[in-house]
Structures are given as C-alpha cells and as structure tokens.
C-alpha cells in the first residue's frame, strides 16, 4: 500500500519511530526521552494514567507542539512536523479527545474546513457517505453539528481523519464518550483500518480495552516510558503495575446497610434545557436515602449537566415537579438556601466552577464553606478560614504549596481532593458529586472513592453522576441510567452488570424508563 505521498514502505521498517523526544513546560517535564515504535498496520496502545504525558506526546507527533529534543522518523526518514497541516500531508491523522467541531456549521462544512484547497461540497458529501458506509460510521453530511449527539460527533471526527487517507491514525481517549456497545463498534472499525494497513496509536488508560484491541502497548508514567509489552500476553494487573508503579488500590466496600430516611427526593422533574445546545429534563424520578450511594450512568450530553444544575439551584429556570431536601421543598431556590439545609455538591468542572483558578486555596475554601464560622457580621475571619483550609489540606492529602497556593497550581487530582474535602468537611446531609474522578490520577481517584464510601457509612446520602461505569459499580448501592433527559428506575448494583447498563445507555433495554421487568422477581433480559 502506498501513502498519500506515494512512498512504499519496506517490511521491517516501523511506520513511525520516536527517539528521545523531550518536552518541558515551565512547571513540569511532560515528555522525558520517549522512545516509541509503531509497525505498519499495528494497533499500538499508549497506556498511562492522567498526567503521564500521553497527550503532549501525541501533540508532538501531530505538529501542534514542538519538542525540545529528539527525533521523529516517518517511514525510515527523519522529519520535523511543524504543523497539523504538514502532519496530514505526511499521512498522520488525529481524532481528539475534545472535538474540534464548529457547532453552527454542517458536517460537510466542518470537514471542508479541515482540508486544504477548496473542495467541492457535493463531491465531499459523496466521499463522506462512502467512507462512513465502508467503516460502519453512519453520518448525514448535511446535518448541523449542534443537533448531533456526542457519539455522532466522534464519528464525524473519525471520518474527517479518514478522508485524508492516513497511514497513521491517532485516537486520543476515544471511548470516554461512548456506551459499551458503541465501543465495540468502534473497535470493529479500528480493526478494519488496521487490516487495510493503517497503523493506529490508541491513547487510553483503560486496561481491558487495550487488552481487547491492541497488538502492542507502550506504557508511560510521569513523562517516561516504563515498559513496552504485548497486551494480549499481559494481565491487567501487570500492565497496571507498569502504569502506576504499584498495584492498583482497591476500595474497602461498604459494610453498613443503607438507611430509610429519604434525604433527596425528586418527583417528575421536567425542565427545559439550560442553553440552546443543551438537553431538556423529562419526568425525572429519583430518591436517595441516608447512608446510600446512588449512581447515575450515562454518556455526557444526555442531561446530566442539567440535572445537576436543577438539583444545585445554580441556574434558575422554570421547572415542573418536586425537589425535596430532607422533606423540605427546594425547587426554584438558590444554592445558598439548599446549602443551609445540608446539601453540598461537587461540579464536573474543577477550575472555573468548583474553584476560582486565580484565587488561593484559602480564598476558595470561602467559596462554599463560608457558613462554617468564616464570616462574622459581614466581615471575613481570616483565622477561621486558614484553619479550615489546613484541615482540608491535611485531612485529604492535598499536595500543594499551602493555603496560599493558587488553585490552578494544583494538579487535577489534588484540586479535586481539595474540593471534595471542602464539601465533606461541611458535614453535608446530602452530597451530589458529578464526575468525581475525571482527569484524576489513579492514586487520587482511589482516595476519592474511598472518601465517598466512608462518608456514606456515616449516614450521608450521596448521588454520583459518572461516565465511568467501573467506578459506579465499585462504590454505588444502586445505578440508574440517564438517556436523552430521562432517568431509568434504579437497579441494585449487585443485580446487574456492565452489559446490561451499557444496553440501557443506548436506550435499547427493556428495563429502561418504567417499562421495567419487576425488580426482585429475578426476571432479567
């Protein structure tokens, strides 16, 4: 097979080789002497937890970032990739974790923008349809992007990359926005590409996916390569060892049964979308008892954001239905009122919502914990603020420069620990957490999950909204699924599995939305 520039690759030569790539940022060494070899047609995983430097490395390959040192060898020849346009000319394509699509334009306009020259839109549409059919990625070229779901948008990104006939396709954490069934379909597409001779660099931290899909894996930790292996031969445990440097921590499960007090009750909540591009909520029913963790699974974009702002009171828009906190109706009240009743919540965005990036940790403690004695007569009590911040830092193992460190100077995991700590220290009766471990390193993630379990055991009612099914299965007592603004009835975690929840996430299951088979009757799909 020949690539777009007509070069034939002899056997044995790696399609892509990286030697000694280094990239330093002011506060961190993101890539330290990285070596990598990808054979033609190989599906090669780059495995590492959040913060290991995988994204930076991919940006170097794609020409978005210039390395400080090292060589990039493409098909046996050294090249300097200076821009994405040049990378594309060489035959490198990339599908980003966060999509680069323009909402107000159509699919074909978006793809046209990514191509050089002036492609005729009609011909391009035909090409899009051809590629989409060949690889099982159904997409309508004339649709406006803002009407498409996250999964559909990813298909557009993949097709965009495929239209350039890449010889190497980089996929950056592609499955974080997909249901398990959609993941399977994606894998089929990737296997077909690999059979056609295209190499694939698959970036992920999900061990079982890499084991199922990839021929080879380069493992990264803290900016360095810690190992190269064949995932088909390795166990998840050995790969985890290379990725984290130790065994993956396991949570101590809850031992106490859930309470009976209904702390958070949502009854037929119906609410329009927050913005023009959002999802409306439709007849949401939800109950969280004291001492129980209820999980809400679902790919983002199905109304989770809207559910959280409805429960927190951050965006006051008219709604129908009831929300009750400890028996008191709180629909259409502001967050301060709800906090006073004992609600705390952790949003999915850390910087810019859960904490103000340029303020110090002490100033950020004041953001929600101000009722804990920090404000007297309208004036700030700096002693109380500092004391609280210290308690938070120490109690939740937050690695930082002290209470005066700026929030944005903390790593994702440490900031998340601080925010969760801040809320937990307020001894809430109800805690709502959205995406508790997104973008967080493995150690901090385990700590956070254990914190939630411990909190549950003290009698707090906890609601967790998460895209990570593994996480929900690890800590929740029961799981509901959110699809297109509707919430399914909760199922006890012990009585279900990944496949079933995955099916429900695509909206195909019978247990969805009240047409459920009777719980406890043993009747399962």
């Amino acid at each position: 097979m020949t690539g777009p520039v007509g070069i034939a690759f002899p056997d044995g030569t790696p399609r892509l080789e990286l030697r000694g790539i280094c990239k330093r940022y002011p506060s961190v060494l993101a890539n330290d002497q990285i070596n990598l070899k990808v054979a033609p047609g190989e599906i090669h995983a780059v495995l590492g937890e959040n913060g290991a430097g995988k994204s930076t490395l991919m940006k170097v390959i794609y020409g978005l970032v210039k390395p400080d040192a090292g060589e990039l060898i493409w098909g046996g020849e050294a090249v300097a990739v200076t821009s994405p346009a040049q990378a594309q000319r060489l035959g490198i394509g990339m599908v980003f974790q966060h999509f680069s699509l323009f909402e107000t334009l159509t699919v074909v306009q978006n793809i046209a923008l990514g191509m050089t020259g002036k492609p005729d839109l009609g011909t391009l549409s035909a090409q899009i349809v051809a590629v989409s059919e060949r690889y099982g990625l159904p997409v309508d070229p004339s649709r406006l992007v803002h009407t498409m779901s996250v999964g559909e948008r990813q298909r557009v990104e993949i097709i965009r990359a495929l239209l350039l006939n890449p010889r190497l396709l980089i996929m950056d954490e592609p499955t974080s926005v997909l249901t398990p069934q959609a993941v399977e379909r994606l894998f089929e597409t990737l296997r077909q590409l690999s059979d056609d001779g295209c190499s694939i660099l698959y970036i992920s931290h999900k061990l079982h996916e890499i084991k199922a899909l990839c021929h080879a894996a380069t493992v990264m930790r803290a900016g360095r390569v810690t190992g190269v292996c064949d995932p088909r031969q390795e166990s998840p445990r050995s790969m985890a060892r290379m990725m984290v440097g130790a065994d993956l921590p396991v949570c101590r499960p809850s031992s106490i049964a859930a309470g009976t007090e209904r702390c958070l009750v949502v009854d037929k909540l119906t609410r329009a979308a927050d913005s023009a591009f959002g999802t409306a909520l439709d007849q949401i029913d939800l109950v969280v008892h004291a001492g129980e963790i209820v999980g809400i699974a679902g790919v983002s974009g199905n109304g989770q954001k809207e559910l959280l702002t409805a429960l927190s009171g951050e965006t006051p828009i008219p709604e129908k239905g009831r929300i009750e906190l400890l028996g008191r109706p709180v629909g259409c009240t502001d967050p301060l009122t709800r906090r006073r009743l004992g609600l705390c919540f952790v949003p999915e965005e850390r910087l810019g919502r859960g904490a103000v990036p340029t303020l110090t940790l002490a100033e950020n403690a004041l953001l929600t914990a101000h009722d804990s004695g920090m404000v007297k007569g309208g004036l700030l009590n700096f002693g109380a603020i500092t004391a609280f911040t210290h308690r938070c830092i120490e109690g939740f193992q937050v690695k930082c420069g002290g209470p005066d460190a700026e929030a944005r100077s903390l790593s994702g995991g440490n900031l998340q620990k601080f925010i969760i700590g801040r809320e937990v220290l307020q001894k809430p009766k109800v805690l709502i957490v959205s995406q508790p471990t997104w973008g967080v390193d493995v150690g901090a993630a385990a700590f956070i999950r254990q914190t939630l379990i411990d909190l549950r055991n003290t009698g707090t009612a906890i609601l967790v909204i998460s895209e990570e099914l593994d996480e929900l299965f690890e800590i929740c007592d029961s799981i509901s699924v959110m699809v297109k603004g509707r919430l399914s009835k909760p199922i006890a975690t012990a009585e279900t599995d990944l496949t079933e929840i995955g099916l429900m996430m695509t909206g195909l299951s019978q247990r969805h939305d009240g047409h459920a088979a009777q719980r406890g009757s043993g009747d399962r799909q």
Binding site: P26, S27, D68, A69, E71, L72, I73, G76, E77, A78, V79, A80, S312, G313, E314, T315, D334, P335, L336, T337, R339, P347, E349, G352, R353, G354, A355, V356, P357, T358, L359, E363, L366, L367, T368, H370, V375, G378, L379, L380, E406, S409
Partner: protein, 362 residues
C-alpha cells in the same frame, strides 16, 4: 534570535507594582520623544509638565482638588470593575449629580442655611445613583450590555445639562454666556487652606478611601464581588447573587460620580456650565486601572492623572501646546499600562536560534 513570551509558573508579585511604574516611565519617554520631534526643549518640557504645576502652595492645592474627584470616582469604578461590571458612564452620572444638586443650590442656596450643602451632597449622590441604576436595571433585567447603555446615557445627560444651562438656568446677569448664576456661599464647600482652592470635599474622598478599602479587603460582600468578576460559573456555584453584584457595582460608581460632581460646582467652578467636568468620568477609568483597582493605588493614580491635567494647562500657557495633550497622554499611559501588565503573567525569553533535527542514516 527570537523573543518569546513564556508563561510564568506563578504570577509575579513584584511586577504587579512595577508595571504601573514602567507604564509611567514609557509614557514619559514617549512624551520626551514627541517634544523633541516638535522642536521643544525636553528639559523645559519636563519642567513644565512635572514640576511647574506644583511649585507653590496654590499648585499643590490645585493638584489635590483635581485629584479628589478622580480618586472618588476611581474608587466607585474599581468596585465595579472588580465584579466585571464596566461602568463607562461615570461622566454622565457626574452630570446628573450636578443637575440634581444644582436644583438644590440654585433654589435654596440664596436663602442660606447650613443644611444646603449637605442637601446638595445627598441630592448629587441620588442623581448619580439614579443615572447608574438605569444601566444596572437594563443589564439585570434585559441582559443589555452596560458599557453601551451607560455611555448612551452619558450623551443624554450632557444634552440635558446643556438644555438647562442654555435655557431655564441661564444666568440673567451673565451677559448671555452659557452659565448659571454663581452659587451662593451656603452652597459652596468651605476652603480648607487659605490661598488655595482646596476645599472640604477632599474629606469626603478621604472617607471614601477608607470605606472602600474596608469593603474590598475585609468584607464578605467584597469577596463576593471579586468572585463574580473572576468567574461567573463559580459565583453561581457558590450561590452568590450575580444581579445584586451588578447593582452594587453600578450604584457605587453612580454615587461616587454624583458626589464628585457636587464637589466641582460647589468647589472650584462655583457655578454650573454646560460641561460638568473636564472628562473626569473617563479619566477615572484610567485612575482605576493605574491603581490596580486597589484603594491606595487609586490615590496615587489620581494624583498622577491630576498632575497630567495641570500639566496640560501649563503646557498650553508656557509651551504653546494644545491642552488636548492631556487626553493624548492619558491614552498613551493606558496603552502602556495594559501592555506592561503582560509581564505579570509572562516573562520574556531570548531563544538563540532554532533546533534542527538530525537526518537518520538507514
């Protein structure tokens, strides 16, 4: 060789204080170059600009009496800018403050009484507050941009005052000049220092400095305003009322501007003219920025801008330059200030040549 801007690990504290000084220095340098280009002797020009206006007691009095409204309005605007509320209509709010207090002064002043002056201050504050309440309302209720609405209202206010001065309030004994009657003694601020025009209105400004410092540094309200200004989603998450913040921000500027207006007519002007002030409402924006939105800085910034005003007048008399040079320098100063601010979050690095990748022999 290339110059590159590299982000600092943490913002530089030193540069926070240095960058206004750097900006002033660069402006002075620009001025010097300008003078040389215009054929004026730089040394004389510098003397005229920096020294001559404040050579004597009267000059110092002028400096302070001009700085007073600049600082007062600057404080009010700083409260707003911190909350990301951009009150650009301070000049209009000052004008309406003049109108409202003018009503009191012209109707009740001649009768006399110690209550007249305080009543004027209250009326002026109320007028400015009213004029700033309109953009506040339009923003909180209709989401209309406060920069544009407050500015439009400035033009309206100036037309209103103009109508009054050319019309019903024109001084019958004024030889048809567009001005009001001179204000009666009971409607004027008492002079503090003999031989100058420095009057008691500076005491109001002083009190405002202390009050604002307290609010911004020590109060929970000040903290809330800061969060609203830094991150709207975080403010919503915290439950801080964004609307209330807009109201506080705009009204602070309005009250300050209104009172500053009273200070002008009950002070150095002594009567009402079609233009209420030489652009203090706009200059105060620069004062607020120069002062880094901090009360102490605003005091210093106010003194500097006041000096610039006096320099402009001196330049006109001595150097034969149009007094509009003041506005020119104000703009240049703001440019340099905004430009120098980058050094707080970025540092300049020199990159010696580019790194070349070696060719590989197969």
């Amino acid at each position: 060789m290339k110059l590159k801007l590299e982000r600092r690990v943490a913002p530089s504290q030193i540069m926070q204080y240095l960058s206004p000084l750097l900006a002033v220095g660069l402006t002075a340098l620009t001025g010097l170059c300008m003078f040389i280009a215009m054929g004026k002797d730089p040394a004389t020009a510098f003397y005229v600009f920096a020294v001559q206006p404040i050579e004597n007691l009267y000059g110092v009095g002028e400096l302070l009496i001009k700085a007073s409204p600049l600082i007062l309005i600057g404080l009010g605007l700083a409260v707003g800018f911190r909350a990301n509320v951009w009150n650009i209509g301070a000049e209009g709010q000052l004008t309406v403050g003049v109108i409202f207090s003018g009503v009191v002064a012209l109707h009740y002043g001649p009768q006399g009484g110690s209550w007249v002056l305080p009543a004027m201050v209250v009326a002026g504050a109320f007028g400015g507050m009213l004029w700033s309440a309109i953009p506040a309302f339009l923003r909180t209720r209709f989401n209309a941009n406060e920069i544009l609405t407050s500015l439009m209202l400035t033009y309206v206010a100036q037309l209103w005052l103009s109508y009054l001065i050319y019309g019903p309030w024109r001084d019958p004994n004024g030889f048809n000049f567009p001005q009001s009657e001179p204000l009666a003694p009971s409607a004027l601020f008492p002079i503090l220092i003999e031989g100058t025009r420095l009057n008691a209105s500076v005491l109001i400004t002083l009190a405002a400095v202390v009050f604002t410092w307290f609010i911004l540094k020590r109060s929970f309200v000040g903290y809330q305003l800061q969060v609203v200004g830094l991150s709207e989603p975080a403010a919503r998450y915290a439950g801080f009322n964004g609307r209330r913040a807009v109201w506080i921000a705009m009204l602070a500027g309005g009250v300050a501007s209104g009172i500053a207006g009273v200070g002008e007519i009950a002070g150095p002007l002594g009567q009402l003219f079609p233009t209420a002030s030489p652009g203090y409402g706009f200059a105060a924006i620069i004062v607020a920025f120069l002062g880094r939105l901090q009360p102490i800085g605003i005091v210093l910034g106010g003194l500097l801008i006041s000096l610039l005003y006096l320099s402009g007048e001196a330049a006109q008399m001595t150097l034969n330059l149009p007094s509009a040079i003041t506005g020119l320098f104000q703009g240049v100063l703001l440019f340099f200030l905004l430009g120098a601010d980058i050094l707080i979050t970025y540092r300049i690095r020199v990159i010696p040549g580019t790194v070349k990748l070696k060719k590989v022999t197969a």
